[in-house]
């Protein structure tokens, strides 16, 4: 007789209810068994270990009714609330070219070969840390996106993922995005929260770039105030593949963002752009890493953030060039602008260089709003808050203007304005 933990029983019940394939349930059990022995991941200067970030509740089926008028107005190809896809309208081009987009349960049933091959096998592993193991054991929601070989998609794909916090439940969400060889995709993701029950969100997103593929990945994250989030985005880049990340961290909650690009293939290239705004009492810890394994691989990090009120923002920028990555390059710039004396900001550059024939550089700063600029703007009649927002816009400008899509630039600019106006009310 085996003694089963409560979680193991929950997994069993959930697997039965959802008719989950046995091989995946087995992965859950294995991950769950490791949880107790694994440590939380460590990120320099990000102190989150005391947060209620672990997922412990029973796996939710997520069949809550939806009656939200706001949702009806969302313009997106895929809208997912909890585990449930409530909108799914793809451009004709996607169907014609054989693109696969489906929720997690469907993916397990219909595309086991893709899940078996890619799910936490390359970009990250179930046992990499405790939060990853919890993720696999408790995963209830997700999306699979697969772009076949040499398919070049002209239309962008837009998704909205909503954490359902109208009832207390854990949000454990997975994105598996695979761009097969020679394919191209532009993807815009939005995350948000419905409801206000305190809950952890454990989100892992794997972006697999097969040889010669090119992915433009943009995200606007707006998780709610009472959420505690682990957001792990991993890019895995093979030969001559490229990922352009454009991430807007506009959350209202405490969050650890772990944004890593594994430059495995020769000539692979990752551009990582992050804009973050922290307000109120929140803490946003962002750990952005590029690791160059491949020869002549290139990883650039550019992150600018603003902190208001009593909030914190930590930017770690890690450029790691491993031995043998000849001709690789890793550059980074992290800057934080403080608008309040009670806010705390950190821009922490870390370069780990294990090869000689490489190029690497970093720039980092934490500073206050330039009083001369404020005086000048206000001397023309603009009130202090408007003047502040203009200075902030100027500060974030270098990141925004470097984003590859005009549409994303506009969306982010609007979100920044909104988050700042809200944040300033709490000054």
């Amino acid at each position: 007789m085996t003694v089963q933990t409560q979680t193991a029983q929950d997994i069993k019940k959930y697997a039965q209810l959802t008719n989950e394939p046995e091989w995946f349930t087995k992965m859950r059990y294995e991950a769950h068994q490791e949880v107790a022995d694994l440590a939380l991941p460590n990120f320099q200067k990000i102190k989150y270990h005391s947060w209620p970030i672990n997922v412990t509740r029973k796996l939710s089926i997520g069949d809550h009714e939806l009656n939200n008028e706001e949702l009806a107005t969302i313009q997106a190809n895929v809208v997912q609330v909890g585990s449930k896809i409530i909108q799914h309208e793809l451009p004709a081009e996607f169907k014609e070219k054989g693109v696969i987009i489906c929720d997690w349960q469907t993916a397990l049933q219909q595309h086991p070969e893709l899940i078996k091959k890619y799910f936490m096998t390359e970009a990250t592993k179930p046992t990499e840390n405790r939060l990853n193991a919890e993720h696999v054991a408790h995963l209830t929601s997700g999306l699979l996106i697969y772009v076949p070989k040499n398919v070049v998609l002209k239309q962008p794909l837009t998704s909205y993922f909503f954490q359902d916090a109208r009832v207390p439940q854990d949000y454990v969400h997975h994105l598996l995005l695979i761009a097969d060889s020679g394919s191209e995709l532009s993807y815009l993701e939005n995350t948000g929260t419905i409801g206000s029950k305190a809950s952890p969100a454990n989100i892992i997103e794997e972006v697999i770039a097969e040889p010669d593929s090119h992915i433009k990945f943009a995200s606007v994250d707006r998780l709610g105030e009472n959420t505690t989030a682990y957001l792990n985005r991993r890019g895995y880049l093979k030969r001559n593949a490229r990922i352009d990340w454009s991430m807007g961290m506009m959350n209202d909650c405490n969050i650890v963002g772990d944004f890593d690009s594994e430059l495995v293939g020769e000539g692979s290239h990752a551009e990582v752009k992050v804009v973050a705004i922290s307000t109120g009492d929140q803490v946003q810890g962002i750990d952005t890493r590029v690791t160059n394994y491949g020869k002549h691989s290139l990883g650039n990090i550019l992150q600018h953030g603003v902190i208001l009120a009593r909030s914190s923002l930590i930017f770690n920028g890690i450029g790691h060039i491993v031995h043998g990555a000849r001709g690789a390059e890793a550059q980074q710039e992290s800057r934080v602008l403080m608008l309040s004396t009670k806010a705390r900001g950190d821009a922490n550059p870390i370069l780990l260089i294990d090869d000689n024939d490489v190029v690497a550089g970093h720039a980092a700063s934490v500073g206050r709003v330039d009083e001369q600029k404020m005086y000048y703007l206000m001397s023309r009649g603009l009130d202090k808050k408007t003047a502040e927002r203009l200075v902030i816009r100027g500060f974030l400008g270098p990141v925004l203007s470097a984003l590859p899509s005009k549409e994303v630039r506009q969306i982010l600019a609007d979100m920044i304005e909104r988050k700042l106006v809200n944040g300033q009310q709490d000054e």
Binding site: M378, S379, T386, G394
Partner: protein, 260 residues
């Protein structure tokens, strides 16, 4: 008609002890152009910054009034909306916001929510003003002062002045670093503003600017206060005799900075 009045103003810089303004008295009305001349280091810029409300200066005594209402307790943005404008010696560079966006925001900050200047109306006015100042449309689409040459910045200050249409404009050494052509253009702009609803306080070292913008009153500042006022001829006389001549004539005990 509006009035701007400075009464017995004593000012020091925040970080320092020494009084820079030692009792300035000045009264002007819209419809008038006043010039303030004076040697280096005599407090001319401090006066203009103090009137505008630069937080780096501290008022020790005295008052500044618009239409009889004291403004010394108001922050800079409220003074601006009350009708003051300062064309600065060293305008800040602000990336991320275009000149045109900024000017429109500044204009609308003076108007109520339901009376905002429309974009077509704004563009029309902007076009006209750019032409007056020999500026290209491209200048209005560039980020605010970013990468502007010294002369371009001065011109841009006058562009803002003409677009915002304040009651009182203080021009702080708007002529410094300008060649004669640019000086004429800037003067043309200021002269176009002349009228019963506009007054200007022009701060300058040299009489040259006053050949192009004819002042109604000329004040001479030395040692932190106004020591003599007169009509436009006073500026000409100063040009001939120098500040040292006037100082000795008035029997003042003031050391001129540039004096050996």
């Amino acid at each position: 008609m509006s009035t701007l009045e400075v009464k017995n103003l004593h000012v020091k810089a925040k970080e320092e002890k020494k009084e820079i303004l030692t009792g300035v008295n000045l009264k002007m009305s819209t419809g008038e152009i006043h010039a303030i001349m004076g040697p280096n280091g005599t407090g001319k810029s401090t006066l203009s910054e103090s009137i505008m409300g630069n937080p780096n200066y501290e008022i020790l005594e005295g008052d500044i009034l618009i239409n009889g209402q004291s403004i010394v307790g108001l922050p800079v943005d409220q003074r601006a909306r009350a009708g003051l404008f300062l064309a600065m010696q060293y305008p800040a560079e602000i990336p991320g916001i275009t000149n045109a966006e900024f000017i429109r925001a500044a204009i609308n900050s003076r108007r109520s929510e339901d009376d905002q200047m429309s974009i077509p109306e704004f563009l029309q006015k902007l076009d006209r003003t750019l032409k007056t100042l020999d500026m290209t449309e491209e200048m209005s689409e560039r980020y605010l002062n970013e990468g502007f040459s010294g002369g371009e910045k001065k011109r841009n200050e006058i562009l803002q002045l003409m677009m915002i249409e304040p009651k009182f404009a203080i021009l702080d050494e708007i002529d410094s670093g300008l060649d004669i052509d640019a000086l004429k253009v800037v003067s043309r702009g200021v002269n176009e503003m002349r009228g019963p609803e506009f007054g200007s306080l022009i701060i300058t070292h040299y009489q040259r600017l006053l050949n192009y913008i004819k002042p109604d009153v000329v004040h001479v500042m030395m040692g932190g206060k106004i020591v003599k006022s007169g009509d436009a001829d006073l500026a000409v006389k100063l040009e001939d005799e120098g500040y040292a001549g006037l100082r000795d004539e008035l029997g003042l005990d003031v050391k001129l900075v540039d004096e050996e």
